[in-house]
């Protein structure tokens, strides 16, 4: 390569952005309803689209859990009104067993993918990346728009699967073959399963388009002075999340394509030695391996849990630091541990398969690698706690949810150490212990991180505050409720209560849990009701919330608070500000906070070591 390089602004890159900015900066330009709210290319609007779609999905997915908790808590009672809503799926007011499986399957699918992946990282990646790195928009706003619309179509296909005659997919959210591969095996393995696979394939496209955009925006579009180590931890977290998505979702897609061939082309990638009870026939398919599917699925499936939790780790770090009025403790350790988590995410997938027929010797390596995750996780937890230590805490709703996140992450993370051991897993697999573990550590805590982010950045999104009273009610009932729901499940699991069962009345040994099950179900309904309160608060505040009067209501250092209260497309009215320091100069030199845009003055104490 020639050493002689010239400064040269690629005209191509320039034209696209130039056109784009002229379009949106000139205030004379008129936007129609369609270009502003529907096919918008503004990252902030796309973020809101992801968020609101995610909220709709969360209500649907949450409602599913209320329905099956109704069955689990009150197995001997009938609810005639259920038949009015659900028809044959609740004939006689009792939930049909097939439908029970459909409910649990769709609850998992919806919450994991549509809410906590697209709804969470779709919202915050889109909203915060350009604002916090100092860019007018994503690298490719058009692809960003496509990403949302692929998600939208995936949502439509998934929803439509709820209304087909044979019902939606019902083989569990992991859709293991042979159950999912054979239409004759169950009602849910018929057309519902095909729609499920199509929706997920579209979802993979959405994730890919989004992630490529996030990565290239973070790498290429940072404003002057915003070196990688000056980025807020949120951006680092979203960056690793996008990398995980780019590398792991395609493997899932391959696995699904092979599954589709098994379903429709007579292949036997995953099928061997099968006798089907429903048709009384031995299948000709030979030579496949069901374990192969599990490997392919979990090669995504495990990174997926980090795709869910990493963004919230970033959000929580920033919300916490801003509300403790202290620099985040151990910035580089935080980045390093997120990197370690991202790497380990790809090395541990088979710990989901310890008892499915995985070679036990291979399992031993997966145990070792799995337990290694405890190290970066612990580093992060200690750093959060140390950030709070002797801080000047402001208990805003965002802050409360951040602290709740850390609490839940610790409680749920500890049981991960149990489950990471293949020997203990012989007893604990497929019990309520597993349910308790993953709901606390990646379900509820991811929601807490998401709520923290929403309460904190709502003023930036809509120029209004959310109602605090409702927010506090939301926080306390959700926190206490989450523990009341999931804590007892550990004891059930240790006692051997299996998951995915409709009715435990056949076991006298589990009768002792009847009261507990009822209790859990009642708390579930209360917690669900409080989430509806949050949704009400959210939409109410968009229109009627208290208006934001200052540019920087939380006194935060990061770039998004240097934009106008209601930023237009392009974010900053004048030039994009230059960055001179890291994002955590709180309480430095006796000053409450110093924004990232302020140059380092001569009298200032040396830049914090981070």
């Amino acid at each position: 390569m020639s050493q002689e390089v010239n400064l040269h602004e690629h005209a191509g890159a320039m034209t696209t952005h130039e056109v784009h900015h002229d379009e949106h900066h000139g205030h004379h330009h008129k936007e129609t309803f369609i270009t502003k709210y529907v096919f918008s290319q503004d990252h902030k609007m796309i973020a809101k689209q992801f968020l609101i779609t995610g909220i709709v999905w969360a209500i649907i997915g949450g409602l599913f859990s209320v329905l099956f908790r109704l069955q689990l808590g009150f197995p001997n009672e009938t609810f005639p009104w259920l038949e009015n809503i659900l028809g044959k799926w609740a004939a006689g007011g009792k939930i049909h067993p097939e439908f029970y499986y459909a409910l649990t399957t769709m609850h998992g699918t919806v919450l994991v993918f549509f809410v906590l992946t697209a709804g969470l990282s779709g919202t915050f990646s889109n909203f915060l990346i350009p604002l916090q790195v100092g860019a007018r928009d994503m690298a490719s706003p058009f692809m960003n728009m496509l990403s949302y619309w692929f998600f939208f179509v995936a949502s439509i296909v998934m929803i439509s699967s709820l209304f087909v005659q044979t019902g939606p997919a019902s083989g569990g959210w992991t859709v293991y073959p042979p159950l999912s591969a054979l239409g004759d095996a169950s009602e849910g393995s018929k057309i519902g399963m095909d729609l499920w696979l199509i929706a997920m394939a579209l979802f993979v496209v959405n994730s890919l388009l989004g992630s490529l955009n996030y990565i290239s925006t973070i790498l290429n579009m940072r404003t002057k002075g915003m070196s990688m180590t000056r980025m807020p931890l949120t951006i680092w977290a979203l960056f690793f999340t996008a990398v995980l998505g780019v590398l792991s979702f395609p493997v899932l897609l391959s696995g699904f394509i092979l599954l589709l061939f098994d379903r429709h082309a007579g292949t036997s990638f995953y099928l061997s030695d099968i006798f089907l009870a429903s048709t009384q026939k031995a299948l000709p398919n030979e030579g496949g391996s069901a374990i192969l599917y599990q490997h392919l699925f979990w090669f995504l499936g495990h990174p997926e849990v980090y795709i869910i939790i990493l963004p919230t780790m970033g959000l929580v770090s920033d919300v916490m630091s801003a509300n403790a009025r202290k620099p985040i403790f151990g910035y580089m350790a935080m980045v390093g541990s997120m990197f370690a988590i991202a790497v380990l995410a790809f090395l541990v997938w088979a710990h989901h398969m310890f008892v499915t027929g995985l070679n036990p010797f291979l399992g031993a390596f997966f145990v070792l690698l799995t337990l290694l995750i405890a190290v970066p996780s612990a580093i992060k937890v200690f750093n959060w706690i140390t950030t709070l230590w002797r801080g000047n805490l402001r208990f805003t709703p965002g802050m409360l949810f951040s602290i709740g996140f850390v609490s839940l992450f610790i409680s749920g993370g500890l049981t991960g150490i149990f489950l990471g051991n293949s020997t203990l897993d012989i007893h604990l697999h497929d019990t309520y212990f597993v349910i308790a573990h993953f709901h606390i550590v990646m379900g509820v805590s991811a929601f807490f991180g998401m709520f923290a982010g929403l309460y904190h950045w709502f003023p930036k999104m809509y120029g209004r505050y959310m109602n605090n009273t409702m927010a506090y009610i939301h926080f306390w009932i959700t926190l206490v409720g989450a523990y009341l729901i999931f804590w007892p499940m550990h004891y059930q699991g240790l006692a051997g209560v299996p998951r995915r069962y409709l009715d435990f009345s056949g076991w006298t040994s589990f009768n002792q849990f009847d009261g507990l099950n009822r209790f859990i179900s009642i708390v579930t309904m209360m917690v669900f009701a409080v989430q509806l309160l949050f949704v009400f608060n959210f939409f109410y505040s968009i229109f009627k919330g208290r208006k934001v009067r200052t540019q920087n209501p939380w006194g935060a250092t990061t770039l998004e608070w240097t934009t106008p209260i209601n930023p237009g497309h392009g974010n900053w009215e004048g030039e994009i500000p230059e960055v001179h320091r890291w994002a955590y100069d709180y309480g430095k030199d006796g000053r409450d906070f110093i924004p990232q845009t302020e140059p380092i003055s001569a009298s200032e104490s040396p830049e914090s070591k981070h």
Binding site: L7, A11, S140, L212, N220, M221, K224, L247, G288, L296
Partner: protein, 223 residues
């Protein structure tokens, strides 16, 4: 405006691309990485099933025909396909280089050659598929015996058609992309823009297709 850069360039300090490439190229690279994992997953699945099976058909027995020359010629036809793809990759590189030199005529010539190469490859593949199908091979049906004379499962053909099909689909989309590039070149789109960077990205995609074929060729036909 050309301007000399300071000798010590701080690539990561923000305000510029740390890799000195525009975002489109970056996206293309990372998309290709992602696609590498798609193909990787397919090929690794193929390997897993092959390791899980007691015996496997001999590719030299399966792929032994050449159009017009008859049977008993293992490896011949696939060598032809491999060379077609390598040569089309070379013409693609030449098109990209011509683009850097703003040499429109050469870009057009090399793009046309690349497209012809792509279509030739697809035609070869179509012939091979048709021939195998004629012999009774398809998804879920495998007429070939294992190398040790025992009866084979259908997974040899299952994987063959799935993976070469997925690769062929990539070749096809590559040809479509190249045709679009050709039309844009002929319409002077890149001349007006002042650069041919789009062709560079299309080139990356095309080479990736060639790259995947290196792996498919090896694991299906050679080992």
């Amino acid at each position: 405006m050309a301007q000399a850069v300071p000798a010590e360039q701080k690539w990561w300090s923000g305000g510029k691309s740390p890799f000195n490439v525009e975002y489109g190229k970056l996206m293309m690279w990372y998309f290709l990485m992602s696609d590498a994992f798609t193909f990787g997953a397919f090929l690794i699945s193929y390997g897993t099933i092959r390791f899980a099976t007691n015996s496997w058909p001999d590719p030299n027995e399966v792929f032994q025909s050449f159009p017009g020359l008859g049977n008993g010629l293992p490896l011949m036809f696939v060598s032809l396909m491999t060379f077609i793809l390598i040569i089309s990759s070379v013409t693609m590189v030449l098109a990209v280089q011509a683009g850097h030199a703003m040499d429109k005529k050469s870009v057009v010539r090399n793009l046309v050659l690349t497209i012809i190469g792509g279509i030739a490859f697809l035609s070869c593949q179509a012939w091979e598929w048709a021939h195998l199908h004629h012999e009774g091979a398809w998804w879920g049906s495998n007429p070939f015996l294992n190398i040790d004379g025992t009866k084979a499962t259908t997974n040899f053909t299952n994987f063959f058609f799935t993976i070469t099909g997925f690769h062929g689909f990539h070749v096809f989309s590559g040809v479509v992309i190249n045709i679009i590039m050709l039309i844009m070149t002929l319409n002077n789109v890149f001349e007006r823009k002042g650069h041919y960077l789009m062709i560079e990205k299309a080139g990356l995609y095309w080479h990736f297709v060639d790259l995947v074929w290196v792996f498919v060729f090896t694991v299906f036909y050679l080992v």
